[in-house]
């Protein structure tokens, strides 16, 4: 331990007090040759200064990054809200009429002279495809997750999960194309009509959100403590009883979170849905009649209308609805997470 010796000796010389010198070797256990100063005393304070500066620079840089990210989100929400609310504040369209009206034709005026801006068909369409797609995806995702974690962990983790996660990387336009060439003709053949509609849209969406929901469900089920499984097996329960009554019950908050995050994605998806949903802005009477979603109307209309026109403002209002709904979904996820933490101790 030459360093300790050196420091001990050095400090004794600086302080000039024998007590200070004796304390160090005693603490370090052994030092038969104390003393031999080598002038290392200057080093320690010198090194402290740049360290402090690095600390400060690091803190500043990270703080700026965090600030920019926060600012970005806040300004984004503010901008969408500003344009979206202009419909009601500047153009004088009643919010209630906007949310409950069933006719979407902003270029012509209704009986009361106001433009026909009923967003209800799109709201119904968006919620319709979202809920339906989650209904379709839930059994597959949870089944695949149970298989991956409980039944065939090696196969599941090495083959199934990577393959399912490949779906994340496929561009949404490809999903739309596949839906157009496979799902739409299938629906047309099976149920008649044009084939375009909520059913085709939700099937395409279900495939798109499958990887998200499956991956998060796998995480939720894998995070159930093994002690719960052992406790259940120890009581003479079969594997299925254990999975159903203990594992799924304990993983439920996580699975719900997975589904809602999937819903957030489905709710916001534009291109693939627009290609197969039919784009008729009227309240769908069945799953196979053409419909429209908030996103599909937005993508089709945004490029055609000049900024500042009433139609353009109305599109911003649709965007605002989308944004608010996404925020609501995320809020629900947080609430579930907190409740789940309480239940699982």
């Amino acid at each position: 331990m030459p360093d300790i010796q050196g420091q001990a000796g050095a400090s004794s010389i600086i302080d000039g007090a024998p007590a200070a010198a004796s304390s160090l070797p005693e603490k370090n256990g052994s030092s038969p040759h104390p003393g031999s100063p080598k002038g290392k005393d200057a080093r320690v304070p010198k090194k402290l200064m740049p360290k402090k500066r690095v600390e400060r620079i690091g803190g500043t840089v990270c703080g700026i990054c965090a600030g920019i990210a926060t600012l970005l989100v806040v300004t984004l929400i503010f901008m969408v809200a500003e344009h979206g609310l202009a419909t009601f504040v500047v153009d004088g369209i009643s919010p209630i009429a906007f949310l409950t009206g069933t006719t979407w034709n902003p270029h012509s005026n209704g009986a009361d002279g106001a433009p026909l801006m009923g967003a209800l068909p799109m709201i119904v369409g968006s919620f319709g495809v979202t809920l339906l797609s989650c209904l379709f995806v839930l059994p597959f995702a949870v089944g695949a997750a149970i298989f991956t974690v409980e039944i065939a962990p090696t196969f599941g983790r090495k083959v199934l999960q990577p393959v399912i996660e490949l779906l994340v990387g496929i561009p949404s336009v490809v999903f739309g194309l596949l839906g157009l060439t496979i799902i739409v003709p299938l629906v047309r053949g099976a149920f008649g009509g044009t084939g375009y509609g909520l059913l085709a849209g939700s099937v395409v969406l279900a495939v798109m959100v499958l990887p998200t929901v499956t991956s998060l469900s796998i995480d939720a089920i894998a995070s159930v403590p093994n002690a719960y499984r052992e406790g259940s097996y120890g009581l003479g329960c079969s594997r299925w009883q254990t999975i159903w009554h203990v594992v799924l019950k304990s993983a439920l908050p996580g699975i719900l979170t997975a589904v809602i995050l999937g819903m957030t994605r489905a709710f916001g998806e534009a291109l693939a849905v627009q290609m197969v949903v039919g784009n008729a802005a009227s309240i769908p009477t069945s799953l196979i009649t053409p419909a429209a979603t908030l996103t599909s109307v937005l993508t089709m209309g945004m490029g055609n209308e000049a900024m500042g026109t009433v139609y353009n403002d109305a599109l911003w209002s649709l965007a605002l609805i989308l944004l608010v709904m996404s925020l609501v979904f995320i809020l629900i996820v947080h609430l579930i997470g907190r409740k789940g933490a309480k239940v699982n101790g």
Binding site: S22, A227, E230, S232, Y233, G234, L235, C237, V343
Partner: protein
């Protein structure tokens, strides 16, 4: 040169001091056999003597267990006498928990685990002639760490009976109360049956787990260091419980606490490095061990 002489003196003295204090501390820090036996005598002493006329409830012979390449249990043979408490002692990693888990086939859940030899329950081969789930209904288990399910106290206890087809509320009510009473936790929890089992204290949670195991009326109860995560008062309660439960159940417990073995067990088996070194009445194992290694262990010379 006072500066140099002072440190050199202290440094040469310091190690000697440590060594000296270690020599003095040694018998005190480790378990002293005579002191331990005296304490055991003062408390309750060897729980009632072994009744050798009773038949073996479970019988293990020529048991070999491998985890992949690791030979965890080497040719173990042991009889578990009925309505007695059998304690399994030994240093950590000696295979006693693994042995306990072979008795109700919990090791089946580990894919790399391979079991050879025979385990019988009432003379019936537990590995070939009994379904694992049925075996576990008859051989219940309490784990080292309390593991109540994330549901209410009531649902925790009713979980087993429900899984085995009991649906009537009145019947379940009765089972829950009886099990909680048997586990000596009824008085504390009777007003909190709707409380979440995960929110209980460690001692209550462990007795809840015992109640949960008792609810399916097993014949044998396995306890895997069931008191190691509990405070002394909770431990005493669980020990009293074990003593009172042996009238109706055959109990096998793994313990690191040798006083606990002397207080509760009639029968003790000593495990070392995957081998069952010696088994016999608790009194014999602690006072007159036939094997030198057993003597070393119970007198605290290692482990």
């Amino acid at each position: 040169m006072p500066v140099k002489s002072v440190p050199s003196q202290t440094t040469t003295e310091a190690p000697a001091k440590i060594a000296q204090s270690a020599r003095i501390d040694e018998p005190v820090r480790l378990i002293d056999r005579t002191a331990m036996l005296a304490e055991a005598d003062a408390i309750s002493h060897y729980a009632a003597p072994v009744d050798r006329t009773r038949p073996a409830k479970m019988s293990v012979s020529g048991l070999n267990l491998h985890y992949g390449d690791f030979h965890a249990l080497k040719d173990v043979s042991l009889d578990i006498p009925e309505h007695q408490v059998t304690a399994l002692i030994g240093p950590s990693g000696c295979g006693k928990s693994t042995f306990l888990r072979t008795l109700n086939r919990m090791n089946d859940l580990i894919p790399s685990c391979r079991v050879e030899g025979s385990v019988t329950l009432d003379g019936v081969d537990a590995y070939h002639d009994l379904d694992a789930a049925l075996l576990r209904c008859r051989v219940g288990m309490v784990f080292q760490h309390p593991n109540p399910f994330p549901m209410s106290v009531y649902d925790n206890v009713a979980y087993g009976p429900r899984a085995h087809g009991i649906r009537k509320r009145a019947e379940l009510d009765e089972i829950v109360e009886r099990s909680l009473r048997d586990a000596a936790v009824w008085d504390e929890l009777k007003d909190r049956l709707d409380a979440n089992g995960c929110g209980l204290s460690g001692g209550q949670a462990q007795r809840l787990c015992i109640a949960r195991a008792l609810a399916i009326s097993p014949e044998v109860l396995l306890m895997d260091e069931a008191t190691s995560a509990l405070d002394p008062i909770s431990t005493a309660k669980v020990e009293d419980l074990v003593v009172s439960l042996k009238e109706r159940y055959t109990i096998v417990m793994v313990t690191h606490n040798m006083l606990q073995a002397t207080r509760t067990a009639q029968y003790t088996a000593f495990f070392l490095m995957g081998e069952m070194v010696e088994a016999g009445s608790t009194k014999q194992i602690f006072e007159d061990p036939h094997d030198e290694r057993t003597g070393d262990y119970v007198s605290g010379r290692f482990g």
